[in-house]
């Protein structure tokens, strides 16, 4: 794991609760990888593709996502700042984060891209009137639901982005400017100063925690709502695409970081 050390951590290592989330994340990736294999084999034509056969698998994968967000939320309550620059992610992933995670509206692009690939692959069959059972088969009502969901998701996403912007602007509010000035001039007693700084920052961190909570809630909700619109086999294909993208981007990012680290040392 090419974890870039973050200068804000005074002792150079992860705080204890973060160490555990880092470990948790690594374990979770292993689990996601297992899920991916199960999803892929469930999607193979030779397998029982009945709803009864697929539902338990889908539910299990969704529970894993839920578990991830529960753990994340618990860790954020202890220490929210690392969640915004997660060291367990590569810098590639970091660059594409929206409020400490994936951008909810991206899910629709994932769906349309995967659906498009399957459509092109099965166009001949579809034109002959065959159904493919995968994401190429999105029906009129499904497409309408997806489109509605996309609209509301983007609205919520914009709302949270706006809240985040307001919070970020408070970094330069009067109390922060006053405190930074006082700290520079050393006009106040050090202990009192530290207390005031802690107090001012605590309010900001509370805001961050609240926004992260909203963002993660929107992420998980968007995922579940998309799955609700899809039929089980389509849901399996969507979950495959989601897991593949997540795992591969993580790998590519780590590789990039390692190469970068090597070139720096040579």
């Amino acid at each position: 794991m090419a974890a870039p050390t973050n200068p804000t951590w005074r002792n150079g290592s992860f705080p204890p609760e973060l160490e555990s989330f880092h470990e948790f994340f690594e374990c979770w990736l292993v689990k996601q990888n297992q899920d991916l294999h199960d999803l892929i084999s469930a999607s193979s034509p030779a397998r029982d593709a009945s709803d009864q056969a697929l539902r338990p698998l889908i539910d299990r994968v969704v529970r894993h996502y839920e578990h991830y967000y529960t753990a994340k939320s618990r860790c954020a309550k202890q220490s929210v700042l690392p969640m915004f620059s997660p060291a367990w992610r590569s810098s590639l992933e970091d660059a594409f984060l929206w409020i400490g995670g994936w951008r909810p509206s991206m899910a629709f692009h994932l769906l349309y891209s995967k659906s498009g690939l399957q459509l092109e692959a099965h166009l001949a069959e579809l034109l002959r009137g065959l159904t493919t059972g995968d994401l190429a088969d999105l029906s009129a009502s499904q497409l309408a639901l997806i489109d509605d969901l996309q609209g509301s998701t983007i609205r919520e996403e914009k709302g949270i982005t706006e809240k985040f912007a307001k919070l970020q602007e408070t970094v330069a509010d009067a109390s922060m400017v006053e405190l930074s000035h006082a700290a520079t001039e050393m006009t106040r007693d050090e202990a009192a100063m530290e207390e005031e700084v802690e107090g001012a920052l605590a309010a900001k961190e509370e805001g961050l925690e609240e926004i992260l909570e909203m963002a993660d809630d929107l992420r998980l909700r968007t995922l579940k709502e998309i799955l609700n619109i899809l039929c089980p086999m389509q849901a399996v294909h969507f979950l495959i695409a989601a897991a593949e993208l997540h795992l591969r981007i993580h790998e590519w990012g780590k590789k990039k970081d390692e190469t970068q680290a090597q070139t720096r040392h040579t």
Partner: protein
């Protein structure tokens, strides 16, 4: 704002359930034309540059709009004169709109799909107004209007066109002498009035759009308009901008409109004669801003960008199969020929009871019960999905009108 609806006036059967029917084995036989017909054209992915203008992002000031419960959602707009269109919404139920006396057999069957796609804002609007002249007693009833409006800058001009244009056209037709509608003039007057309404009407009080209708933003908002009026013996298409109407006649795609692009030689000349310039910046743009040469709205680009439509009048023949109206979200990535090929295959479906396809044992869904408007809807859906599959980065709106009389 987007919706997908298939409909035919007077239809009484319930729509398909929202849940997709079971996968795997449902088999609908359409026309077994060779695959090559559609797959022959590879379209390179469009970049974000494909869009109409350099956008001005203005976020709505109000908070987050919560998600409404899906069950209750139906399209609620009541457009006067838009008769009894049944809209299949999210829960699969049907919503009969305010109705006007309409004779069921008169309106051609149609399907429409309109989605936000890979854009962050929905700026397309679609209008369907069957028998839209039925209120004016002196005129024949058999006039049906279909329109696609692709907004830029914001959605409010497109939405205004959707709500008003058919009413304006009705009034303009009403002024014509009995049984001799001067279509070209009537459509030109209608578009001029539409543009005027957009310019002067006080929409600010009712609208809640992204641009918040503040000048100067509001002046930088416009919309394409492609409108087709289907009469018993004619198709009249009035177009302004780069949405397009294509007739599928005996398998051949016949464009009924010609896109208004700033680099179209006659348009370029017109713009230059008016004192304007076309600047190549991310494609040809009027004054380097707008990537089309005509539009409703866009006050700040007048007189270079004009709202005058070009009108095509086409006699209907027995060989006419369907009419496709769509925004450039489709046409940028799907050719006229391909679109016609896809649409006619969906429409020519014979739909016999079909053997299940392995694997799986699900029963074939009662294909015979599906009516032709389902076929139109299938066509508009498939075209939309094809546009998305080919990396369309824009909103996609498609209307397919079945012109076959003996189906």
């Amino acid at each position: 704002m987007a919706g997908i609806c298939c409909g035919v006036v007077g239809e009484s059967e319930p729509s398909a359930p929202a849940e997709p029917s079971s996968r795997g084995s449902r088999l609908r036989i359409l026309d077994p034309l060779p695959f090559k017909f559609v797959a022959d054209r590879a379209v390179p992915p469009l970049s974000e540059n494909g869009r109409k203008r350099h956008r001005i992002e203005v976020l709505p000031s109000e908070g987050i709009e919560g998600r409404k419960p899906r069950k209750a959602r139906v399209e609620e707009e009541k457009v006067k004169g838009v008769a009894d269109i049944k809209v299949a919404r999210t829960d699969g139920s049907l919503n009969s709109r305010e109705n006007v006396q309409v004779e069921p057999q008169e309106c051609p069957k149609f399907g429409l799909t309109s989605v936000c796609g890979r854009r962050r804002d929905m700026e397309d609007a679609v209008s369907v107004a069957p028998s839209f002249c039925s209120e004016s007693r002196q005129k024949p009833n058999g006039l049906h209007l279909f329109g696609v409006f692709d907004g830029h800058g914001c959605s409010h001009v497109a939405i205004k066109c959707k709500k008003r244009l058919h009413e304006i056209v009705r009034e303009e037709i009403g002024r014509c002498k009995e049984s001799s509608v001067q279509w070209k003039e009537a459509m030109e007057r209608s578009f001029a009035r539409m543009d005027n309404e957009v310019e002067w009407s006080d929409v600010a009080k009712t609208s809640n759009c992204r641009c918040e209708l503040q000048t100067p933003h509001c002046d930088a908002v416009g919309s394409t308009a492609v409108v087709a009026i289907v009469t018993p013996d004619k198709i009249i298409v009035a177009n302004c901008g780069d949405s397009r109407a294509v007739l599928c006649r005996n398998g051949v795609a016949i464009p009924l409109s010609s896109d208004h692009k700033p680099d179209r030689p006659d348009e370029l000349e017109r713009i230059q004669n008016a004192g304007g310039r076309v600047i190549y910046w991310d494609g040809a743009r009027v004054l380097g801003v707008l990537a089309m040469s005509r539009a409703i709205g866009d006050n700040y680009l007048k007189p270079y960008v004009i709202p005058d439509p070009e009108v095509t009048i086409m006699d209907r023949t027995a060989e006419d199969e369907c009419l496709i109206l769509a925004s450039d979200g489709l046409w940028d990535v799907v050719s006229n020929d391909t679109a016609c090929g896809v649409a006619r295959m969906c429409l020519r479906a014979q739909r016999p009871p079909s053997p299940p396809r392995s694997p799986g044992s699900d029963l074939a869904v009662g294909a015979n019960a599906e009516s032709s408007d389902k076929a139109c809807s299938d066509a508009s859906i498939l075209l939309t999905k094809l546009a998305l599959a080919r990396h369309s980065t824009d909103n996609v709106s498609v209307v397919v009108v079945d012109l076959k009389r003996d189906r």
